[in-house]
Symmetry: C2
């Protein structure tokens, strides 16, 4: 929680961040600290412990005890007004003894400050200090020392005196379950699992049962979310062929985003994939393996979707009486009819709501929404608000690769998580800037998901650099954001683009793609993903968004950053710090120096508890990727190469 | 007016900034332009024409005509859907002919869009275009050309089709009279005017009559505001002597900020300065010379102020029964009792209100408020709000040299103008950053005043560099901000600090300081100020805050910037541009190149009306300081020196 806090004049003041639970009760109070001296920006940290509509407010007050200490020390040292300052101090201690804890211009709307007299022992201590302050046989300096002893300080720490107490309004703070922020996703096209070519040379589709069998492998790698591209019936009218050709050949399965056929739409399952029993079995098996199921929702229809017959008014009618298909003139997407939300907002809303309820009733708690930025914001605002009330555990990921204003607004109106520009941030400067952007500038709007590739995205960077660039990008994604995702086949370094397009050739969107996972073992990416997911599970620092620090290095090819979570917000009850050092060069060996500032590696040092920097023994770190341990300090030489070691993911031990 | 504007999907949209006058009626509408492509930031400009509580809102809509043109051009060129697109266009033209100007999800709260059919001539043109669009003897491309002719474009320009019209709430926009933003101030201590040492060696005070006689000189230099430091009776208890010594000598006049004596407080005039008749005569003479009078208000009391006897409860009582004087421990300011607003907020409010009313009734319309940041913000918020209702012409300048949060908040709660950090911004980088900061980042919070020196401020920079640094800082102040101010004596290059303090030695606060203005003529600063004030009067570009551009130069000692006002906001009805080029080095000759980007010198070029840059004849400029004219272009060599010419203030002719 952050606030600009200041007051008129020169007296001391303080601010407390008050976290309020969904029932409206105070959950915790944290004294706020000035994080940008001169700019009056104060921060305090609190951690809600369950989902719901929390809120917070800031309480501020004038601090007469701090003001008195400041003035008394200066004036008594200068020999000015000694008696007077001692008497002023005695009066403040008397006030504390009476429990006259606060004054306010207006009583606070929620009176959480009670007249509470200090306990018996404190009373005795206060009385003794008051007597001392009035003891003219002592010098003012001697009296001051007694009155500001640690014993008396403790009394004021427990019940501070607050004058002119003010409280802000309450600011809403929507808290979602942990998977909204932290998750390791794995994306599959279920039909590829178990697909084969039969004796007649015809493809036979894989199905949900086959996909369920593959879940062990995904769980073994340590993923936590299994994301299925759409599983609904696929239209045949204008069905796309392989590599997005306009005419499907015999046996081409079509794009799962061309949703809807005679046997059903968004609330149905493609018959070749199985039925709801198969789906339930898939969800059950996933649950046994601690995998949550995420389903893809693409709000559009093939010309064969039941909605087209039942509700032609939900689409756009052209002057010639036909329904408008999707276009990006002069390109045509005749296999897709976009919904026109303006034509019947209420009817479409209900249909989508009911459809989502079907999947929730079959155990789906995460939805990945395809292109939400082509639907009206007011639709999402209402839908996500009402969905949060009805199903607070259900999460929605926005697949909006578009301009910042739209992406941030989708987060603002309720999407729990967002895809990001990560795939296009490739240089050291771009990555450093982007890591800080998602952690600090847009964190209140969007929870970021980092995907090195998806079925739609294969950037030019990934097409050279072989296995190594796949390793680099996996490490960056898994450590740069609390949620990251891998599209099935990443382990096989599938890195050939369809000419002229930044996506894979022979794209799984338009064909079956069974894979040889044994070959993946040889390439080592599966093993790397397993290590990364284990490091993510073991390190709370990698499960949160804030408190990333970028560290300078001497090489434009070496990036270094660390994430830190302080003990009081860590589920382990202990500080956790992870330091990542990676080469961004997949082609050559690079060497250089990493410069570490102790206060930035372990921000707890900055709070003034400890000023010894890395201490005499240096910083002990262990590489989560190979178990090697090192002692690091202010300047650290590293040599990284594609053939030996491309980077370190260090857990910091001391 | 600025807004983030975007929509779902790919259709064209538009936004208009609607300026609303104090009566709630639409004053003007301006189409907004995307000023940061990719970031959806739109700007539109409007100019209120009188003071009061104006407001604005942003209207946005989907633009079917622009969407159709975009799609039709692409598709017809690609040979796709030609007939269909022509028919879609015909339907839009039919709609325009019927005057079906807008659709809205919700009707706009203030329906300013009327069904207005185009005029007869337009109807004929629309009908012809509709017929053409349906004429199958023509190709779609031929028909498109007719339908998007300039005649038809003009019809849509006059009455655009707006779909899904939305209006924001109204945002308040407090408009004050021009002097709130633009003014040339001159500060005096009236008692120095006519002060002399008599035959017995005793000082005799100057007075308001003497000060009135000096007004011709001030007016001749072209100043518009004459600012008087406090003119009230001065206390004698703990009166300060020369150079802020603790004990006043016989005849020392005391600080005018030690306000109040037996013969009156803030609503009285020091008897040595004259009476209210003298004050009225001063105001009248100032008025004859087009000088507005600004009065200094320091809300504090000397121990002899009538308030101390009548309202001891307005001050802070110490435990020993004495009233607390001002302190910055261990320093004491025993000649000053601060008011304690918390003790009797209502009583103090009324006393201050009544006191201000006295001065308003004697013709004062500007107050310079001393140290407003030591008084509670809620006091100022109420006071300035109610003062705006009672006396909309009265302005208040905040003398708060403190942290940004407080300074910005004082502006936010109603101060019309603020002192700034200008005096402490000395390097090229600091000045460039600060000019942009006051013009863009804080312009909505604070109207800035640039003062090179005041009676309290003489920065180290001013103490070396002699006359030249005084010239440099005067040019920077007069051209960097629409309001600037000069403290009397600046013309005499009074540049010696009291040792250890960043203010003048023999400070006028504590003694009489009659000056020899003939000597000033020799130094040339008066002549420079006269030229600067004349340039400010002649150039609307120097009278406004926005639209400053910094231009790169090859020398760290040469700063170049320009200000521009477009014709439609210029009182002359023509574009106005001023280009300033100054050396920041008061010691040596410097040379270098000034690089000009035409679109930044004359932003009207950027709007696309004209793309010829500076044109074949270059940019013709005339130096307002010496009348020389030059032809400038993209790269311009300059040589500037203390002994010949330290800078240029160019009016741009073409």
């Amino acid at each position: 929680m952050r606030a600009t806090v200041f007051r008129e004049g020169h007296d001391a003041f303080a601010a407390e961040a008050v976290l309020i639970n969904p029932e409206g009760l105070e959950h915790s109070r944290t004294l706020m600290y000035d994080v940008a001296p001169g700019l009056n920006i104060y921060e305090g940290w609190g951690a809600p412990d369950r989902p719901g509509l929390w809120s917070f407010r800031i309480d501020t007050w004038s601090d007469p005890w701090a003001t008195w200490k400041h003035d008394a020390r200066l004036k008594i040292a200068a020999g000015v007004d000694g008696e007077l300052m001692c008497e002023k101090g005695a009066l403040l201690l008397e006030r504390a003894a009476q429990g006259a804890n606060f004054t306010a211009r207006r009583p606070p709307s929620r009176p959480s400050y009670h007249k509470k007299k200090p306990g018996k022992l404190a009373q005795v201590e206060l009385a003794a200090a008051i007597e001392t302050l009035r003891d003219e046989s002592l010098t003012p300096a001697q009296r001051l020392r007694v009155a500001t002893s640690s014993t008396i300080e403790r009394v004021f720490e427990l019940s501070p005196l607050r004058d002119y107490l003010e409280a802000t309004v309450r600011y809403p703070l929507q808290v979602d379950r942990k998977t909204a922020l932290y998750g390791s996703w794995y994306e599959i096209f279920p039909r590829s699992y178990g697909a084969y070519v039969d004796e007649a040379g015809r493809w036979v589709s894989g199905n949900l049962r086959g996909a369920a069998e593959s879940l062990d492998r995904v769980a073994d790698m340590g993923f936590g979310v299994i994301y299925l591209t759409p599983i609904h019936p696929i239209g045949t009218t204008f069905r796309k062929g392989r590599n997005n050709t306009l005419t499907a050949m015999q046996g081409d399965p079509g794009s799962p985003y061309g949703i809807g056929a005679a046997d059903g739409g968004h609330d149905a399952i493609h018959s070749e994939l199985g039925d709801f029993d198969d789906f339930d079995a898939f969800v059950e098996r996933a649950g046994e393996l601690n995998l949550q199921v995420a389903l893809d929702i693409a709000l559009q229809a093939s010309p064969d979707h039941p909605w087209v017959k039942e509700h032609p008014e939900w689409f756009t009618m052209r002057p010639d009486g036909t329904i408008a298909y999707a276009e990006n003139p002069p390109k045509k997407y005749q296999d897709i009819y976009p919904l026109n939300f303006d034509n019947d907002p209420e009817g479409i809303y209900q249909a989508i709501w009911d459809m989502i309820e079907v999947w929730i009733s079959h155990g789906v708690k995460i939805f990945r929404v395809d292109n939400p930025h082509t639907k009206p914001i007011p639709f999402w605002q209402r839908f996500l608000y009402e969905m949060r009330q009805a199903h607070p555990e259900v999460l929605f990921l926005a697949e909006a690769f578009t301009r910042p204003a739209m992406m941030e607004t989708l987060g603002m109106v309720g999407f729990h998580q967002s895809y990001t520009y990560f795939a296009w941030r490739t240089t050291k400067e771009e990555l450093e800037e982007y890591f800080v952007e998602v952690a600090e500038k847009t964190a209140h709007l969007m929870r970021p998901a980092f995907w090195p590739t998806t079925h739609d995205i294969l950037t030019p960077q990934m097409t050279t650099g072989g296995i190594t660039i796949f390793a680099i990008r996996a490490i960056l994604a898994a450590t740069g954001s609390p949620t990251y995702g891998i599209y099935s086949g990443y382990e096989l370094v599938e890195n050939v683009q369809r000419p002229g397009f930044e996506e894979q050739i022979d794209n799984e969107k338009y064909e079956f793609k069974p894979r040889d996972w044994e070959k993946a073992e040889d390439l080592g990416i599966s093993a790397l993903l397993t290590l990364l997911n284990r490091a993510r599970e073991q390190h709370p620092a990698l499960q949160q968004l804030h408190q990333i620090s970028i560290h300078p290095t001497s090489s434009p090819d070496i990036i270094a950053y660390s994430k830190h979570v302080p003990a009081r917000f860590s589920p382990t009850g202990e500080d956790d710090t992870v330091l990542v050092v990676i080469s961004l060069n997949p082609h050559e060996e690079v060497e250089g120096t990493v410069y570490l500032d102790p206060a930035r590696v372990r921000p707890t040092l900055a709070a003034g508890k400890n000023s010894e920097g890395f201490g005499p023994q240096g910083l002990r770190v262990v590489d989560e990727l190979d178990g090697n341990s090192y002692t690091w300090g202010y300047e650290n030489y590293v040599k990284l190469s594609p053939w030996e070691r491309i980077g370190h993911v260090f857990g910091v031990i001391n």
